[in-house]
Amino acid sequence: MVEKTRSEKARVVPIKPVAPESDSLYEVRQKLHVRSVSGIFARWRWALVWITQLVFYGLPWLTWNDRQAVLFHLTERKFYIFGWVFWPQDVFYLAIILIISAYALFFFTAVAGRLWCGYACPQTVYTEMFMWIEEKIEGDHNKRRKLEEGPMNARRIGLRSAKYGAWGLLSLWTGFTFVAYFSPLEELLVAIATLSFGPWETFWILFYGAFTYIFAGLLREQVCKYMCPYARFQGVMFDPDTLVITYDEERGEPRGSRRKGADPRALGVGDCVDCGICVQVCPTGIDIRDGLQYECIGCAACIDACDQVMERMSYPPGLIRYSTENAVKKHWGSREILQHVARPRTLVYGGVLAAICIALVVGLANRTDLRMDILRDRAVLAREVGDGLIENVYRLQIMNMVEVPRTVRIGVSGLDGIRLANSEEVALPAAGTESVTVRVRAPRESGELGSNQIHFQLEVVGDASVRVREATTFLLTQ
């Protein structure tokens, strides 16, 4: 086992980041042969594997409006998400979604610790899938250890190649799916059929595939321990009322083995039989009985494992359980724990989270699907065109953000007698942009010499509810 440097045994919160030990760079990793576990939390983890991966592998295959339902179309610089089309100008929504994710993470961490890590993080989910393959091919943790320590014979080579091969296929499929989010799946399927991937598509499929393989197959818990920034700062969001995986030291200690049916009180031991199964199932290889450590990803595998031991010993379950520092100290039941979920920290995180979510919904509902950028023609500032009229020239870049072609009427206002000198209607392609040059004329006396504010309006022909108005300047000269 890896030596623990913690001295504060069994102290629950706060987690302090481990002091940067200079020799941690050279820490030799002990390869873990994690024992698999069943139970209620294992079922939850598998449910999340299924949900997240059905979404991930399945989404690129859905169609909507005769195109891929979810596609971050890089070459068109447009993001399609079901009925929506987002453009680079919509980066605001991306920022909001990132803020929502951050606050959701804060909120859930404050309430129940590393829920994300234990159940939904891709690192956990893929590791779970890769370990399932490993167990199916090489057998349980004991067989795997024996295989690892045994001689390099034909059997070992065969099993290992089968495992690496299965991992490789899953990784390739994952890489392919990843690329299908950025490059239309239909084109990729044609490319598969004719074996004619572009060089960069090939590169990214292999890159993401290799990434999956290395992270879920080889690095595993090291990603959580050494690479994940969240693991390092999660402690900031914890407080004594945060639900975390807790070993009930008072009940378990002094630990010790005993025969089944022996009375622990008579032997003077606690409920922990020191079987070590909680350590064997831990994907990060820690001993939860030492107290909460930053390596613990909150997967609850040790809860499932220990509850089975407790059942076999006919002790009540829950020697390891979801609990809070205060609950353990003050012997609270689940009612008191629930009552402490609502507290200033969670209310603030939750309130901010709700407010931003509402802002996003309101923003999306009121998003105009027509946009206009106005550029003044730099060559011709203003010129006289006779009859006392001054002409300015503009370039309008008009974006039609819906997936039907539309015609818009351009209008101009702001000065007496101002009008367009050329045609007022522009046909826009579905989800496309059109640039038009417009010449605007106004009588010289209609405003002051120099720049005057005017407005361009756009109105969709046949749908007066969609309107855009943008300001610009009109130059009047002598």
């Binding site: 200079s22 070459t75 680079p88 980066v91």
Partner: protein, 77 residues
């Protein structure tokens, strides 16, 4: 192993952020390289952009790691 992770991983994360921010703001079709318009395919431009960001960030991580050695490490040589 851990040294590789420390060089390649933080730089990967930062390069990812830089890539998204940069190409949201800048349309690659409007980029100029040595005075000439960039004419790679868009996917190539995005990819090269990402790899270049990664390389630059990794160089910085490498330097950090190099300078982080204690006096004992340096004197030992």
């Amino acid at each position: 192993m851990l040294r590789w992770i420390l060089v390649l991983w933080p730089s990967f994360l930062v390069a990812g952020i830089a890539e998204v921010v940069f190409f949201t703001v800048v349309n690659p079709q409007q980029l100029y390289l040595f005075g000439e318009a960039v004419e790679y395919s868009l996917i190539a431009t995005y990819s090269i952009g990402f790899l270049a960001f990664w390389l630059v960030c990794a160089a910085s991580s490498l330097l950090t790691l190099f300078l982080q050695q204690g006096p004992a490490d340096v004197n030992a040589r």
